[in-house]
Amino acid sequence: MTPAAGTTFLQSINQALREEMLADPDVYVLGEDVAVGGPYGATRGLAEEFGEHRVINTPISEGTVVGLAIGAALQGLRPVVEIMFVDFITLALDQLVNHGAKLRYMSGGQLKVPLTIRTMFGVSGGWGAHHSQSLEAWLAHVPGLKVVMPSTACEAGALLRAAIRDDNPVLFMEHRGLYWTKDDQAEPTTIESTLGTARVRRPGRDVTVVATGRMVSTALRAAERLSAEGVEIEVVDPRTLSPLDLDTLAASVRKTGRAVIAHEAVVQGGIGGELVAQLQLAVFDYLEAPILRVGAPFAPVPAGEQLEAAFVPDEHSIIAAVRSCLGRA
């Protein structure tokens, strides 16, 4: 069901977990501290309601816990693992990339891995280089994985439910900076319509801004400012980075003739490069200007307040890129 108005992103995640656990006894939740609600309450109440045999606290052993969840999924359980920060997915990459992602293919279709990994990512609060990264491009590079990145409270719940119902390993990336945000109004979002589909968040005629995660709200703020000077940008949220809904993105750029890709990850090797490559092939004849990218500088995430602010792209970064696209300095 659609979360009520005033529901936060975090509450929407919590509700989605609860609803899927109610609907399907094969849904299990595993991770560090999940039985006590996790660091911010995403799993709050689940252990009390469903028991600690289904909401399982694990040791700090990310690699083995992800492997264990894959092994359970191979047998038909639908585990939802919480990796507290995506920075720690590095510890589980062997299991996830070499086993979870590939077992479907390597087995010639005999096995499937209905696994969801929820993980926090992104910069906020000065948490520094080990608790703030955006590693979605690494994961979207792996055949067999799906990568989902919600940007609103309502969609977070719907996308998570779709991820849990999916028969493939899905990385579900939650920007910490969105956890306490609420949607302006409750949006009826069907589960089926979300996974693998992009969404136009604000229509516009001049430049398409493809934004992911928290950069969607940043782009919407940029849109307000640009609108005041007569520039209407169209903000499109891919929502799923793999598989990518190129059709919706391309349709937008065919209309506007210009595009900016905005993400919080470092630009070099980021998902923006892939989007640019796929878009230019799809819409080359429609392009009035090169597609530009907005993202973080090629550096680890710094901890101090001023340096952190310098690291994260903001609406001014997007506005500057949009103006550049339009040939205005």
Binding site: S61, G71, A73, L74, Q75, Q95, S107, G109, L111, D167
Partner: protein, 317 residues
């Protein structure tokens, strides 16, 4: 042990031996390719462990997987066809030697990553605990895996959660080209298990009877929900780390010494002595195994090549 059991165990060991020798031959003749790790010399471990397992028990293997798959009931024809990259192989030619999967007989998967299947086996054991009490998961790994974090983490979790799991370490004394003495001071997997309060024993892995004796209570313990055990089998691979490995890191004398401890010959001698087998029966069992493997080679040779566009199909469920 009765005559039938002895014959069945010997049948499994001969099947593995004949299969691996055929693989070696076909590799030398360039009929099959890839990175192949043969289990000649380690047959007793696979045969003994799998003799306690049913089809519904869930088995995970290492990179040296052929024998485990056959012992679990895998079809030698589909296994060899997979090694040959054919469409009629278990994985349609997509897996190969190190990624065999035969879930229809409870052989879940092998792995190209040392220690990589250990966490997976924990998950399948969790499934057994939750959904199929009495069923168990089993994982084979080598001494090289002892130094992987995944092994240590898995011992901890399996012990903590009392998972219905059997760890089987095939300690063949070498991690690839490096003798165990050069990569750890803790040379026994059972030492690691004991640290995590897991019942454990180290046995002569080339003595089928010793392996049977060690595995039986461990399997019973897992089935009854009392938690994991670790059985360590000291053994030796008679071929290189991989097929084609010149094995310059070990002395010929060492190879000769282990040849005298051949697990198949030892069991045959014991069984004949115990009156469970005679020479004629032995010959018949070996001949039947070799004939099965010849049929497998024909099946693989005649199998269709996968369609070219299968390369990008089946990535997602």
């Amino acid at each position: 042990m009765d005559k039938q059991t002895a014959a069945s165990l010997l049948d499994t060991m001969y099947l593995i031996r004949a299969f691996e020798e055929k693989v070696s031959e076909l590799y030398a003749k360039l009929e099959i390719r890839g990175l192949l790790h043969l289990g000649i010399g380690q047959e007793a471990v696979a045969a003994a462990v799998c003799s306690f397992l049913d089809r519904d028990d869930l088995l995970y293997s290492s990179h040296r997987a052929h024998g485990h798959c056959l012992a679990k009931g895998g079809d030698p024809r589909r296994l060899l066809a997979e090694l040959a990259g054919k469409a009629n192989g278990y994985c349609g030619g997509k897996g190969g030697s190190m990624h065999i999967s035969a879930p229809e007989v409870g052989f879940m998967t092998a792995t190209g990553v040392v220690g990589g299947t250990i966490p997976l086996a924990l998950g399948s054991a969790l499934f057994c605990r939750e959904r199929r009490p009495g069923r168990i998961a089993v994982v084979f790994f080598g001494d090289g895996a002892m130094n992987m974090g995944a092994f240590q983490e898995s011992l901890n979790i399996a012990s903590l959660w009392k998972l219905p799991l059997l760890f089987v370490c095939e300690n063949n004394g070498y991690a690839e080209f490096t003798p165990i003495s050069a990569h750890t001071l803790v040379e026994r997997a059972s030492e690691h298990a004991a640290v995590y309060h897991i019942p454990t024993v180290t046995v002569d892995g080339n003595d089928l009877l010793a392996v049977l004796q060690a595995v039986e209570p461990a399997v019973a313990r897992a089935r009854s929900g009392d938690g994991p055990s670790l059985v360590e089998c000291l053994t030796y691979r008679m071929r290189g780390h991989y097929e084609g490995d010149p094995s310059k890191y070990r002395e010929l004398s060492e190879l000769q010494e282990w040849k005298s401890k051949d697990p198949v010959a030892r069991f045959v001698a014991w069984a004949i002595d115990a009156g469970l087998l005679d020479e004629t029966e032995r010959d018949a069992i070996e001949a039947a195994a070799r004939s099965k493997v010849e049929a497998a080679a024909d099946f693989a040779r005649e199998g269709p090549v996968p369609e070219r566009d299968a390369v990008s199909r089946g990535v997602y469920a």
